[in-house]
């Protein structure tokens, strides 16, 4: 369904004002591969993912996205990836469906309903997200990342706050889409690492 996407990270470093977070991280992943990034708390996993998503800038290094042979320019990346992170908060005053519609690019209502019922939120679809529990919010985040069936999926701690049923849904979804998608997961959970084909430990790379 998708053309071959690939993602190349070349010697990315990030320094906040006073501290070095990580240095010279390189890896690459292609469609069909799932990649994990692990490391102790504060080692910069989330930052790494946000840099790949383009919402933060790296101090040094380059990132290449390509589809087939063609490189995707920085401005068009939005439409090619899905991103989720505990730092991405849906709007409290909107319902789940409205949040998803806001994030997606022209998805039909049936598709949204389908996703909502898949993640078990269909009964709550007309409630404001502000009234959701944190696990339900996490489900909304996951739907937002996956709704457009993006070629590249960046997941930052995807199973945080999820109960075991939620995790099962998430893992089966990942299984379903993994052969058409580049998946990058930043996590410390063993179950999630087991899903992946390869990965790095940021902290070890630093040494």
């Amino acid at each position: 369904m998708h053309k071959n996407y690939s993602l190349h990270i070349n010697k990315i470093s990030k320094r906040f004002r006073k501290q070095l977070l990580f240095r010279d991280i390189s890896f690459s992943a292609e469609t069909g591969e799932s990649y994990f990034i692990t490391g102790p708390n504060g080692s910069g996993k989330s930052t790494m993912l946000q840099i790949i998503a383009g919402v933060q800038k790296s101090t040094a290094g380059e990132i290449f996205f390509s589809r087939g042979k063609k490189e995707i320019p920085a401005g068009e990346r939005f439409s090619h990836f899905g991103f989720t992170s505990p730092a991405v908060n849906p709007y409290d005053m909107l319902t789940a469906a409205e949040n998803i519609r806001f994030a997606s690019s022209g998805v039909k209502d049936e598709q949204i309903d389908e996703m909502l019922s898949l993640f078990g939120l269909y009964p709550h679809r007309s409630k404001h997200v502000g009234l959701y529990s944190s696990g339900m919010k996490q489900r909304v985040r996951l739907i937002i990342a996956m709704i457009d069936s993006p070629g590249i999926l960046l997941l930052d701690e995807p199973s945080s706050n999820l109960d075991s049923a939620g995790k099962d849904i998430l893992f089966s979804e990942i299984e379903r889409i993994r052969k058409d998608t580049v998946i990058v997961i930043a996590t410390n959970e063993h179950d999630e690492i087991k899903l992946c084909t390869k990965g790095i430990d940021i902290a070890e790379q630093n040494l």
Partner: protein
């Protein structure tokens, strides 16, 4: 691109409409300031210049209380990352600008008639007066949109917002005050060049902000 702007606008209006407190407070602020000024003046006869100074001070502070809210809300509710992931900076800027222009036009449309009514002022040139109020509030909202985006990222926002807006807004306030007092007083014929000045000023600010917004919104 346009659909993105409409989506952002729709979202902002939905949120503000459901959570009316912020908008209500800025309207209440505007109304109460107008009332208290007219109450304090208590039927004294003031010169046109004083009238226009008072009117624009009310408008300025009403703007200060309401216009930075649209960006601050994104930071306070920590939704700015969500927004940044799904829209280009340019679209975000344009949709917030349109929102602010609409909001501030409503505030001006509330304050000005109230002021005229309570202070019993009848402008000599009505059309000229309305045009001045409209283009003055356009200029104020175009400045405050970009400054609101800056202030949302900083600490101690609300007082900082007034501090950083004031110097940039002085030319607008001066010209608007002068034009308003002319239009209340009558006498000298309307000066279209100054009206054009206000429009040109908003145009320049909007185009520079459009270009520079991404430097504020995304990290450099």
């Amino acid at each position: 691109m346009q659909s993105r702007i409409f989506k952002n606008l729709r979202k902002d209006f939905l949120i503000e409409f459901r959570n009316r407190s912020a908008v209500n407070i800025s309207f209440a602020f505007a109304g109460i300031t107008t009332l208290s000024v007219s109450l304090a003046c208590g039927g004294a006869t003031l010169s046109p210049q004083i009238h226009s100074v008072l009117l624009w001070i009310i408008i300025f502070f009403s703007g200060m209380s309401g216009l930075s809210h649209i960006f601050i809300r994104e930071e306070e509710e920590r939704t700015s990352l969500f927004l940044a992931l799904h829209s280009d900076p340019e679209n975000i800027y344009l949709s917030k600008l349109v929102f602010n222009i609409i909001l501030f036009s409503c505030i001006t449309a509330l304050v000005t008639p109230l002021y005229l009514f309570f202070m019993q002022v009848v402008p000599a040139y009505t059309v000229y007066f309305i045009l001045t109020a409209a283009s003055g509030s356009l200029a104020i909202s175009s400045i405050t949109t970009i400054l609101g985006a800056m202030v949302a990222k900083a600490e101690s926002r609300s007082s900082l917002f007034t501090v950083i807006s004031f110097p940039v807004m002085i030319p607008v306030l001066w010209i608007s005050i002068k034009l308003t007092s002319d239009s209340i007083e009558g006498g000298a014929p309307p000066e279209l060049r100054s009206l054009l000045f206000l429009l040109a000023f908003s145009g320049v600010i909007i185009s520079v902000s459009y270009l520079a917004f991404k430097f504020i919104w995304t990290e450099q």
